[in-house]
């Protein structure tokens, strides 16, 4: 017995010290996740890990082509045909790929899409977020002549509707509703089902079947048409996904970028701590480390050994570090005061301090490379002198005690700043603003809050200045979600709105002509810069470190930061 333990210990030490095993083409690709997906219920995907996993198990009509950073047809044969129906409705004509089939060989049909949309709107299921998100799809019209053709009738107009209409995973009807009971209930009826009324018998039976399937933990009870199946799941530790030996998209020629699934096995290791994740990468326990923090990226790059073993990628994401002002506060109602405060932020210095200088500065809510970018506006800079001048213009007077007072006011200009606690970037930004403000005589209190509490505080308007990320995307210019007057109290945190911006915000997504669109967007950037409800500081970079031997690495500014299923190890013949 004694020798067994000794031997085991020795073998352990030897195995720990020995060189990392050579990866075969069929070896698993191991990826770091910062958290467990928690639930793989396709209706209740609430975090990035769960979305990643769902993309392996299921296929949507459209999905992101990370090479082009654009949406491409996945389950759909092509991007939908768009037709306008009157003022406020859009019809999208889709056709599914003829090769698309479920695991049992049955084809994926328009009835499956219809069923999925009804499931997304069915009362009694954990799909509340989906109901808000896909509520704009009013009706699914099936083509009686072709079971793969259908038309989605959507409320609203504009490009983001097209993308959103194909963004949900398509689920098989035959598993959850073999008797087709849901076909007799229209989508509109399900959407408008009163909360007080008991659910229809068909719905109640479906809800019960759904709950019994326990899809949160057992996604295999609802096999999707994606390339992988979940092979093992140890909560908070590891998930293994195995490639299906026969997957319908293998037969497609040429193989579309979005339907490639090269790794035979994908392993996600849950490592919440970044230092531990970096260590696991260096020990070759993890091959892909997405969303690397700046400092750790820098440390890894500084090591020659790591340089030889890993490939480093860094590029701008679509997340903008933004400071916002509560325009409902009397002190911040004047745009000149807000402009003055904007000169107390130092975007260049903050980018250097927090993002290794890789933050991309911007004048507005568009990236500098965009054709719609307003290059006639100057970049925001730190300029305390101009801040002082603007404060004077806004009617503030500096008294002997060094503070700024409005005539007749009972208290001087003093602000609080709210931001999320765990991010060092926010803390540095807040400290920098506090220091610059103190130098010109404005007292600033920092009030970091935990993330769920913060959302509540911001939505109820309990702040003067906030610092947070605004998540943009390359697909659409729908800024109405956080600037339009109709979203004050939820998405529009600053409480800012003018008739002009409201008009611009609604016109931009529906404008088809590129030249006019450019004018509208440039105008919007100029107006926002002048009114200064919020100040975009810079675009955060997204950083990726992968094992150097991995092939087909496609980094992207979009989450998760790379094309997951494109990765592969070199074939044995090529490896040295």
């Amino acid at each position: 017995m004694k020798y067994f333990w000794l031997g085991s210990l020795l073998s352990l030490l030897v195995s720990a010290c020995s060189a990392p095993p050579v990866k075969q083409a069929s070896s698993p690709v191991t990826i770091r996740w910062s958290r467990d997906p928690g639930t793989l219920d396709p209706l209740a995907l609430s975090n990035p890990s769960a979305l990643d996993a769902a993309n392996l198990l299921h296929v949507a009509l459209l999905s992101i082509d990370y090479q082009a950073n654009a949406y491409a047809p996945a389950l759909a044969q092509a991007l939908p045909q768009i037709r306008s129906l009157g003022d406020s409705l859009t019809a999208l004509d889709y056709e599914l790929r003829s090769a698309a089939s479920w695991d049992d060989g049955q084809p994926v049909l328009a009835t499956d899409v219809d069923f999925t949309l009804k499931l997304l709107n069915c009362p009694g299921l954990p799909n509340e977020a989906n109901r808000a998100q896909y509520g704009f799809i009013q009706e699914v019209r099936l083509d009686p002549a072709n079971p793969r053709r259908f038309t989605l009738i959507c409320r609203g107009r504009g490009e983001d509707i097209t993308i959103a209409s194909g963004d949900f995973p398509v689920l098989p009807e035959s598993v959850l509703d073999p008797a087709h009971t849901l076909r007799y209930l229209s989508l509109a009826k399900l959407q408008a089902w009163p909360a007080t009324q008991a659910p229809a018998p068909a719905v109640a039976a479906l809800v019960q079947r759904y709950q019994q399937a326990n899809l949160a933990r057992e996604p295999s009870h609802l096999p999707g048409c994606g390339p992988y199946r979940l092979a093992a799941w140890e909560t908070n530790h590891q998930l293994r996904f195995q490639r299906k030996t026969k997957w319908w998209a293998d037969k497609l020629r040429p193989a579309p970028q979005v339907l490639q699934a090269r790794p035979q096995e994908l392993v996600f290791t849950v490592l919440p701590d970044d230092a531990a994740a970096a260590l696991a990468l260096r020990r070759h326990e993890v091959d892909v480390y997405p969303q690397v923090p700046a400092r750790i990226f820098q440390q890894l790059q500084a090591s020659t050994k790591a340089q030889a073993e890993f490939a480093f990628y860094s590029q701008p994401s679509y997340d903008i570090l933004t400071a916002g002002f509560n325009t409902r506060r009397p002190a911040l109602r004047d745009k000149r005061t807000r402009q003055a405060l904007s000169y107390l932020f130092d975007p260049a210095g903050l980018s250097a301090a927090t993002q290794l200088g890789q933050g991309r500065r911007t004048v507005g809510l568009l990236p500098p490379g965009s054709p719609f970018y307003n290059d006639s506006l100057p970049l925001p800079t730190l300029a305390p002198d101009r801040a002082v001048a603007l404060l004077r213009q806004a009617g503030w007077q500096r008294r002997a005690d060094g503070h700024w007072w409005q005539p007749g006011a009972t208290s001087p200009l003093a602000l609080n700043v709210r931001y999320r606690t765990e991010e060092a970037t926010f803390a540095t930004t807040a400290l920098q603003f506090q220091t610059a403000a103190a130098r010109v005589g404005i007292a600033v209190t920092l009030l970091p809050a935990e993330s769920s509490a913060l959302t509540n505080l911001l939505q109820t308007g309990d702040f003067d200045v906030y610092i947070r990320l605004i998540k943009g995307s390359p697909f659409s210019f729908n800024f109405a979600t956080f600037l339009h007057s109709s979203t004050i109290g939820s998405g529009n945190i600053t409480g800012f709105s003018t008739p002009l911006t409201d008009r611009l915000l609604l016109a931009i997504p529906t404008e088809g002509d590129a030249r006019r669109k450019r004018l509208l967007l440039r105008r919007l950037q100029a107006v926002l810069r002048d009114e200064m409800p919020l100040l975009p500081l810079f675009y955060l970079p997204t950083r990726l470190v992968v094992n150097r031997r991995l092939q087909h690495v496609i980094p992207s500014g979009l989450k998760p930061g790379y094309a997951l299923t494109a990765l592969s190890w070199p074939a044995a013949a090529n490896s040295n």
Partner: protein, 334 residues
């Protein structure tokens, strides 16, 4: 007092310890007026996480937010003197009193007049504005009657235990300790974070509240032992009142484990501060403490100087306090 002074004079280690603590107090008191090159909360954006060797002007380097470590140490000393040490003292005081009382009187020995309970119940009823004025009036009446009865019974030589009931002191203290120990700290903090930011006195109270149970448990355990000692029986036999025995004879003996524990609990509290800073509750990054400095090394694990200097300062403080505690215990027992 001569023996103590003598000890101080003959032991250089004790003098060193006292010197360090004095230095801390002086630095803490004078922190805002010390001529330091940087303010503790001003980030140096060009030198983030700069090591002491490579940075210019930052003698002990900067942390991952660009704050000067030396200025942070000084600000942390001020905070230690103004907040942490008082919180430790408060926690130990609270813990000692609660633990000693619980251990001494247990659940049976402390008897309260029934009337007091009646009055307390009535006050609660009134304070919560519960409905039922008639009930409240009845309660008041019963309380008044009980007060009268107790007063009359007290005039009889044997009647002072009538109309009283035992106060389960031990159970109450243990209950509060268990409550504080079983609520996940995160829940507590989320609840606190939702409110307005904590001012220093509130933070002091919070830290003391989180730290007193340990002292209370130690003293309670020791008190059980003290109560079983022969000198306690002697004291009781001599007819001294219980409260006097508790205060004059039992308490000093029950406090003995605290001499070793007190300095440790300071370190524990700084650790708690570091946990609070790590969770970002209560105080923003513009309030620097040794604990928050220790926590900030998490953002950049190669910046050893961020943790080593406050860690060293804390270590020296702990050693100095232990030295003094040892001195005090030998002075008490000689």
């Amino acid at each position: 007092m001569p023996p103590r002074l003598f000890l101080l004079r003959t032991r250089p280690a004790a003098r060193l310890a006292l010197g360090w603590l004095l230095l801390l107090v002086i630095v803490g008191a004078l922190a805002p007026w010390l001529p330091l090159p940087y303010a503790p909360t001003t980030p140096d954006l060009l030198q983030v996480a700069a090591s002491p060797a490579t940075s210019s002007g930052h003698y002990l380097g900067t942390d991952s937010l660009g704050r000067d470590v030396l200025a942070g140490l000084v600000a942390g000393a001020r905070r230690l003197v103004l907040l942490t040490l008082p919180a430790v003292a408060l926690a130990i005081l609270l813990g000692t009193l609660a633990g000693a009382a619980a251990g001494f009187w247990g659940n049976r020995r402390l008897r309260l007049p029934l009337a007091a309970i009646g009055w307390a119940l009535a006050a609660t009823w009134w304070g919560l504005r519960l409905p039922g004025v008639a009930f409240l009036c009845g309660l008041l009446g019963i309380s008044a009657a009980l007060t009268l009865l107790t007063w009359r019974a007290a005039r009889h030589p044997t009647g002072h235990r009538r109309y009283t009931c035992a106060l389960p002191l031990d159970g109450m203290v243990l209950g509060i300790i268990t409550l504080l120990g079983s609520v996940p700290r995160l829940i507590l903090l989320v609840a606190l974070a939702a409110g307005p930011p904590l001012a220093t006195p509130q933070l002091l109270a919070l830290l003391a509240l989180l730290a007193w149970p340990e002292a209370a448990r130690l003293v309670r355990g020791q008190m059980h032992w003290v109560r079983a000692q022969p000198f306690m029986e002697a004291a009781q036999a001599s007819g001294l009142p219980l409260s006097r025995i508790w205060w004059r004879h039992a308490l000093p003996h029950a406090c003995r484990p605290l001499l070793a524990f007190g300095p440790l609990s300071l370190a524990g509290l700084v650790g708690l501060e570091s946990a609070l800073a790590f969770l970002g509750i209560g105080q923003g990054p513009d309030v620097v403490s040794w604990g928050s400095q220790l926590a900030s090394v998490r953002h950049d694990t190669t910046a050893w100087w961020v943790a080593v200097f406050p860690g060293l300062a804390l270590f020296l403080t702990l050693l100095a306090l232990q030295k003094l505690a040892k001195l005090a215990s030998s002075a008490v027992h000689k």
